[in-house]
Symmetry: C2
Subunit: 333 residues, 2 copies
């Protein structure tokens, strides 16, 4: 059974995911990732190689059979499990709880050869609809407090399977980075009675130098203090605390912006590996005037990694004003 | 001029290091790292390829000439610079300051073929003496508040030069991760009037299952909530807030423990890349009863990286009790 453990000093929760490969030999051996269509467990006709689907959008076909255009399945090596009872327990000065939660994979297209950037706009919209459908469903489980939606694209960014996919992890705790953002945003709100993200949007539109893309509904920027070169954020222009709280026009616009941004990154950085993560409010909480959901997109360009983990201190050679200019000046294909 | 910028939401400082390569092409092109002795800028007879040394331990020879056994030089592409005046400034709702600081490289041995794990014990001691010498010197600059001592070993861990070396970054701010630890430790101290690290040492010695190595002066453990497989901490058994505050026997013992641990990791994980970072108290502050300096050692085994950056949430497949057992049971060579 997976376990959540808390670092007693910083309060950070960590999943000890005992269902995944973990012995020394598992790390040392080069991971032989299945390459190409024939060996791919995410391609049509391989539905029996994955756990049964929890959601699918289909042009035809029965459940767990070909005909789908998007498919959501539980992760074969889940970090957390829905089964079991939620128990908190001390171990001397340490704290732990049972690893209740969910870990799902969103297979974004049936076509092994496509990336999100290459997919038709309509299919990218479907990905965001699927995110929302899963959030609305999992939200009903009151033990779950947070849902992380993220994507590792490319092996260097942590994707172990080539076929394009995103992931979802539902947690009984709020992750530390989001908690920190919520705390910081709340402190600002208490002092100013304004959302700090709304203020950032106003200032960025005013300054212009860090703006990458601007539409009726969204703003994409290189943030003022980016941790990584070409780190880019997408923010809804109208204040919203929860990602899942959108209507069809806002979603269509989001899919357009996201795809446009990926195409710009692909063009400027020659199809880089990247990580995407959605930061949103805890699922069981109501609308929050101080927190503003957003997407963080981080191309994986530098290898300097461990130092940053060890210190929380980031060294970024690329000023965001330069990154934004490169991305802005690149036409869309 | 490098710049320090503050994320307005979380308060995290980031160095925008404008003296380093930063345009898209710099990332895309495969870094052609110099391989082997002939091209290595850290080998003897290449002293003119680096900035002049700030410290060297020598068997003979003049400054910046062969004959050294350990050599400390400023980084050729420094993230921060000692020159300039310290200025803080606002930019609308954002904050920045000039990038005052130091960025140095500790070349740990003249021998290109050695790693820290293979070096004679005496030479590993020298590395820690050099760390201390540089800390005591830089501490005199009252603008500097924190000194990060760290090592990226192997390309996958971020080392761009093969010849074994560590790094030092002196900063006008305290890095976030250390700040978090200090805050957490202080909260515990206010409540219990005991150092949380001292309590952890007592509990770990009592439990035993996460102990890797134990000497008169130090304890090496797999921490209770490790972020990464085989993450290992070295803690001084007697409470000390500052790394540089040691005597010769404690240092000799530290070098022994550190080298023994590296040899164990090399044995169990087949010479893995790793990151090492020393967490210590801010240099201008006196002894702190609540904070306890320590070393964090993280083998770089998994590629799942960006997700963790984006969320501060860690997924670790290896229970620390198993990691500690593997390391404990491995004899030293």
């Amino acid at each position: 059974m997976p376990e959540l453990r808390k670092d007693p000093i910083t309060g950070r929760w960590v999943i000890i995911a005992t269902d995944r490969p973990r012995r020394p030999g598992d790390f040392v051996r080069e991971q032989v990732a299945p390459r190409g269509v024939r060996a791919c467990p995410f391609c049509p006709d391989s539905e029996d190689k994955t756990p049964p689907e929890v959601l699918a959008y289909r042009d035809g076909g029965a459940a767990n059979e070909p005909g789908w255009t998007l498919r959501v399945i539980p992760n074969k090596f889940p970090a957390l499990r829905v089964e079991g009872t939620m128990e908190r327990q001390g171990e001397g000065l340490y704290d732990k709880m049972t690893g209740i939660g969910a870990h799902e994979v969103i297979i974004e297209t049936a076509d092994h050869a496509l990336t999100l950037a290459d997919m038709p706009e309509k299919r990218v919209e479907d990905v965001f609809w699927a995110f929302r459908d899963r959030v609305l469903d999992l939200k009903k489980d009151r033990r779950l407090r947070y849902i992380l939606l993220f994507k590792n694209h490319g092996e260097a960014a942590g994707a172990s399977i080539e076929h394009t996919h995103s992931q979802l992890i539902a947690l009984p705790v709020v992750p530390k980075r989001v908690q920190e953002e919520m705390t910081g945003a709340r402190r600002y709100y208490e002092f100013k009675e304004r959302c700090i993200y709304c203020d950032i949007i106003r200032q960025e539109l005013d300054t212009g130098s860090r703006v990458v893309l601007e539409t009726d509904h969204y703003l994409a920027i290189s943030p003022y203090a980016p941790r990584f070169p070409f780190e880019t954020w997408i923010l809804p222009r109208i204040h919203r605390s929860h990602f899942e709280d959108f209507d069809a026009p806002a979603l269509q616009n989001l899919a357009w912006v996201f795809r446009a941004l990926l195409r710009k990154l692909d063009r400027v950085l020659e199809r880089p590996p990247y990580n995407m993560v959605i930061h949103t409010s805890p699922i069981q909480e109501g609308p929050d005037p101080s927190y503003h959901w957003h997407i963080e997109l981080i191309p994986k360009l530098t290898k300097v990694a461990g130092f940053e983990w060890g210190t929380g201190f980031y060294l970024n050679p690329t000023p965001p004003e330069e990154a934004a200019k490169f991305l802005r000046d690149t036409g869309l294909s």
